[in-house]
């Protein structure tokens, strides 16, 4: 143990010497920490990439910027092919609340807006803005905030949102959205995640070692924003070398003043164990509380932020540098010089690998992220994005291909390792049988896909793969059920309406009959025959009126089907008259509808609504419709002007 600590200490003391007299030992106070269930201790393999300081990766000839580097709606390009752009310029705006903009990481020229391979587990292509850099790295005008402590919450949130910051630890959730808690005072605890529990990855470690001041600045801004009662910076005990530096950097800020109440700031270290860095796990380790299933940490008065994100916030507020670069670990035995690089977003992975002496012949797979949760890249041209913390290029000996799976012997190793206290062997059993209800009963939704179960499984069963597939199936089933439910509601509503009309009709008839009867009584009982004739006449008359009324009602006013048909007819007529204008109109209305659906989705996400899936489906449908409409609009143009439709 001691030698391990010494090992981790030694490279750091060589690089960032800490003066112990600058901080008071009282901060070293021991805090109670909690243990999480399960967890594993895979070989850490972190020292390889910690030998050098963070290096600049430089400016590649081309930058590829996916519009969707975060969770939520993709950003919308606001530049055209051929535009000259400056470093830091916004090139795609956020689309709705759960979205972030994209900025140009360097100056140059937009050469394409098209589908390119992006780093995503699906291996699919997606829309990217492609920039040919000019090498000058010319900045746009910058307006940093002079004194952030005098900024109000909305200003700071605005800056964070406009800087395109999304969680840099892995998921990429829009930070501005996450920080926008309704009442700052509700937040008790700000947790900063310096855990970095995955093997190999050291980008946060390097950041803590070399940029403690920037981290502290970011934390100070977060304190101003959230006004927490305590700020806990969680660090695993394999990174003890950074603690002193962080503590002294934190002392430069007056957190009591920033949060306007007594505020405890602590760097908390705890035993290394995977996956301590999962948001829920870290919260339990530091506070002893578990985030209730299906709820958010904010419901417990806790906000958790990644350290890289804190640095990005400091850059955005204090230096007006939007999120255009990040620290990425390049490591694995198939590279000669493992290291941490400061990489412009959009830099192709192959450009980075070349710098580090990549031996393609020995590499057996390329992983973005760590060996536990990272995904395999299918193309070396994919760019680094906001969430890319590591590129791992292992050799076959290092991470061998999985051997064929053997049957599950129910040894229970997986259940011992699961940090969510699930029964992975049972989930596997039910997933094989596609027993969705049983899977839900066994809380598959609470699986964080950490891979600890697969790691320990002696039968080499790719358990997580089964869970992903099963979760997708459950989502699909829910969506189907939701749609069926909506269809039923619509049907019921229509039935009810028709019934109501019928009842009204009958009521009117009865009223008339009564009236007629009364009149005939008045006119004298002397001639019953005449009265009967009169009544019959009246009835016939009434029927005629009714029939007309019903027709009218059915035709337009009250029946949406009829209304839609009429509208469609009108549209078709209009289209025949001016096809281009009609198509344009279609595109516009599809856009409007999509926007509406997206705001609804954002609201739903904000409220954590149970109809989330339905809204998502609606947005998806809207997008498809819009795409179809746009295509339709583009086609005739293409014919007439003979130009590619992509601009």
């Amino acid at each position: 143990m001691l030698t391990k600590i010494l090992q981790t200490l030694s490279p750091a003391t060589a690089i960032s010497p800490v003066q112990p007299e600058r901080y008071s030992p009282s901060i070293m106070r021991m805090r109670k920490i909690w243990d999480i269930h399960g967890g594993i201790h895979p070989p850490e393999n972190k020292t390889q990439s910690l030998g050098e300081r963070i290096r600049q990766a430089g400016i590649p000839a081309q930058l590829i910027l996916p519009l969707s580097q975060h969770i939520g709606a993709a950003a919308v390009p606001i530049v055209k092919v051929g535009d000259q752009i400056l470093k830091g310029q916004c090139i795609a705006r956020a689309e709705g609340l759960v979205s972030v903009p994209v900025h140009a990481p360097s100056s140059g020229c937009v050469v394409a807006i098209e589908n390119r391979p992006i780093p995503h587990p699906s291996g699919l292509d997606d829309l990217c803005i492609v920039i040919d850099t000019d090498g000058h790295d010319r900045w746009r005008e910058r307006n940093p905030v002079e004194n952030f402590a005098s900024c109000d919450k909305q200003t700071l949130l605005g800056i964070i949102r406009d800087a395109g910051i999304a969680g840099m630890g892995g998921a990429g959730f829009p930070t501005g959205f996450k920080l926008n808690v309704r009442d700052a005072r509700e937040i008790d605890t700000l947790v900063l995640n310096g855990t970095e529990c995955e093997p190999y990855i050291t980008s946060d470690h390097a950041l803590m070692r070399e940029r403690a001041e920037e981290i502290a600045e970011g934390i100070a801004i977060l304190a101003q924003l959230l006004q927490p009662r305590e700020i806990l910076l969680g660090v695993e005990d394999n990174k003890l070398d950074v603690v002193a530096g962080l503590q002294s950097a934190l002392q430069a800020h007056d957190f009591n003043a920033l949060s306007q109440r007594d505020c405890i700031v602590e760097v908390v270290t705890f035993p290394t164990k995977y996956p301590s860095g999962g948001e829920k796990q870290l919260i339990e380790i530091l506070t002893g509380k578990q985030v209730p299933s299906g709820r958010l940490p904010a419901d417990l008065g806790i906000v958790c932020q990644n350290l890289g994100t804190a640095v990005a916030i400091a850059d955005a507020v204090l230096r007006d540098i939007p999120l255009i670069s990040r620290i990425t670990t390049i490591t694995g035995e198939a590279v000669d010089r493992p290291c941490n690089l400061e990489v412009l977003l959009g830099t192709p992975v192959e450009y980075l690998l070349q710098q580090c002496g990549f031996r393609a012949g020995e590499n057996n797979r390329l992983v973005m992220g760590g060996p536990m949760m990272g995904f395999a890249l299918l193309d070396t041209r994919v760019p680094v994005i906001k969430t890319s913390n590591c590129i791992l290029a292992p050799t076959e000996a290092e991470l061998p291909k999985p051997p064929a799976a053997q049957p599950c012997i129910r040894c229970g190793f997986c259940a011992e390792a699961c940090p969510a206290s699930l029964l992975p062997q049972q989930l596997y059993w039910f997933a094989q049988g596609k027993e969705l209800e049983k899977l839900e009963q066994h809380n598959i939704a609470d699986c964080i896909e950490c891979g600890a179960c697969s790691y320990v499984c002696p039968s080499n069963i790719p358990l997580v793969q089964y869970y992903r597939a099963a979760k997708a199936e459950i989502r699909e089933r829910d969506r189907d059920m939701q749609q069926a439910e909506y269809a039923k509601q619509r049907f019921d509503a229509r039935q009810e309406r028709l019934q109501r009309l019928e009842q009204e009709k009958q009521a009117a008839r009865k009223a008339r009959q009564a009236k007629a009867a009364a009149r005939s009584k008045q006119s004298g009982d002397a001639d019953p025959k005449a009265a009967a004739v009169a009544a019959a006449l009246a009835r016939v008359e009434a029927k005629k009126v009714e029939a007309k009324k019903a027709q009218a009602a059915n035709s337009a006013e009250d029946d949406p089907v009829q209304r839609a048909l009429l509208k469609r007819k009108a549209q078709q007529q209009a289209e025949a008259a001016d096809p281009q204008a009609a198509l344009q109109q279609k595109v516009d209305s599809a856009k409007a509808r999509l926007e509406k659906a997206e705001t609804r989705l954002a609201d739903a996400q904000a409220e954590n609504s149970e109809h989330l899936a339905a809204f998502e489906a609606a947005v998806q449908k809207g997008r498809e419709k819009l795409a179809a409409a746009e295509q339709a609009l583009a086609q005739p143009k293409e014919k007439s002007t003979d130009q590619p439709a992509s601009n």
């Binding site: 587990p121 339990e284 299933s293 949760m373 395999a376 991470l399 940090p419 969510a420 809380n443």
Partner: protein, 342 residues
């Protein structure tokens, strides 16, 4: 370079199922050695024949199910089943008894249910119980412990194989078989336990001559597996605890109605083999730790009940099979609390 679509996690612990099974097999060795010292080569012949039959039957089943036999033999589960049945059978069992037992264990109890991992019952125990019911005489004749043989010459290794392969149900030599201590206690109704002990040499120091060695050997093997984290303590300690508790309650001060001391129960018969190698069989046991604790407690209690009031000399096999029945029920009621749930 081949960019391949492999999903996470990419890293994997070194442990494999084959290794787990080999460790279990290895851990039986102290017990097997002690049994050989206690009862002669008969245990070894049992084991050798059981492994030979088990491997052949497993390969045959796999070939019939059109799977590669090599891949499945490599998981060594058939080896472990054969070992356990070979140990459990009376030493010097005839080859056809062993073959029949292995047939029920491998073909009926395991392969017909879908192969390794799918069997609801412990295969070795199914084989044992079928034999016990079908051949009660052969299955209840235990060799006398070597130290008590006196002038009778125990057969050598080759001779032992000769006995087993000769197929006679047992070498009919006077004094070569003896009632086990558990038999004596069960049949006793007149003597105090202390007198019983004086009367019969079989009782040894605490668990019975020979038996206490064998049980000690299996205990050592079990502790090794516990140390290697092949399993958790829940099932084995659960079983030993409830067995010790019940035998303490019914010890009755060592009267003539006594069921025997806790020490006798812990170190006699198949107690330690059952606790460390049978109730720990993961496949047919409960899933969660709590479930496994209950599984062990139940098995221990059943062992005592059958030993005291049942008709069979030892009870581990029946107890385990009965617990196998209710394992799904245990699973249902012992699902652990998931993170974030109350």
């Amino acid at each position: 370079m081949a960019l391949t679509r492999i999903t996470s996690p990419h890293a994997h612990a070194k442990q494999s199922t084959s290794q787990v099974m080999l460790w279990v097999a290895l851990a039986t060795l102290p017990g097997v050695a002690a049994m050989t010292l206690a009862f002669g080569w008969g245990t070894i012949t049992n084991i050798v024949l059981a492994i030979a039959f088990g491997t052949a039957l497993e390969a045959l089943a796999m070939a019939l199910r059109k799977r590669p036999p090599g891949f499945y033999l490599k998981d060594y589960s058939a080896l472990v089943t054969a070992l356990l049945l070979g140990i459990a059978l009376p030493p010097y069992s005839a080859w056809w008894i062993i073959l029949l037992g292995m047939f029920f264990a491998i073909i009926i109890a395991k392969q017909l249910y879908g192969g390794m991992g799918y069997n609801p019952f412990n295969p070795a125990m199914v084989g044992y119980v079928v034999l016990l019911i079908s051949f009660p005489v052969e299955m209840t004749r235990w060799a006398a412990p070597l130290p008590l043989l006196g002038e009778v010459q125990a057969p050598g290794l080759l001779q032992s194989f000769g006995i087993a392969i000769g197929g006679s149900t047992f070498p009919i030599v006077d004094g070569f078989t003896m009632a086990t201590p558990l038999d004596l206690v069960r049949q006793n109704s007149a003597l105090m336990i202390s007198d019983l002990k004086e009367e019969y040499a079989q009782f040894g120091s605490w668990g019975g001559t020979g038996w206490e060695w064998a049980n000690g050997g299996f205990l050592i093997g079990g502790l090794l597996l516990l140390y290697k984290r092949i399993y958790t303590w829940h099932a084995p300690l659960g079983m030993l605890f409830s067995l010790a508790l019940l035998s303490a309650i019914f010890y009755d001060g060592g009267s003539s109605a006594s069921a025997g001391s806790p020490l006798l129960h812990l170190f006699s018969g198949a107690t330690m083999l059952g606790a460390w190698f049978i109730v720990t069989d993961p496949v047919s046991s409960a899933v969660s730790n709590r479930g496994r604790l209950l599984f062990g407690l139940g098995a221990g209690a059943l062992v005592f009940i059958i030993r005291k009031w049942g008709n069979y000399p030892d009870a581990v096999a029946f107890a385990v099979l009965l617990m196998n029945f209710i394992a799904p029920l245990l699973d249902h009621y012992t699902q652990p609390r998931t993170y974030g749930h109350t």
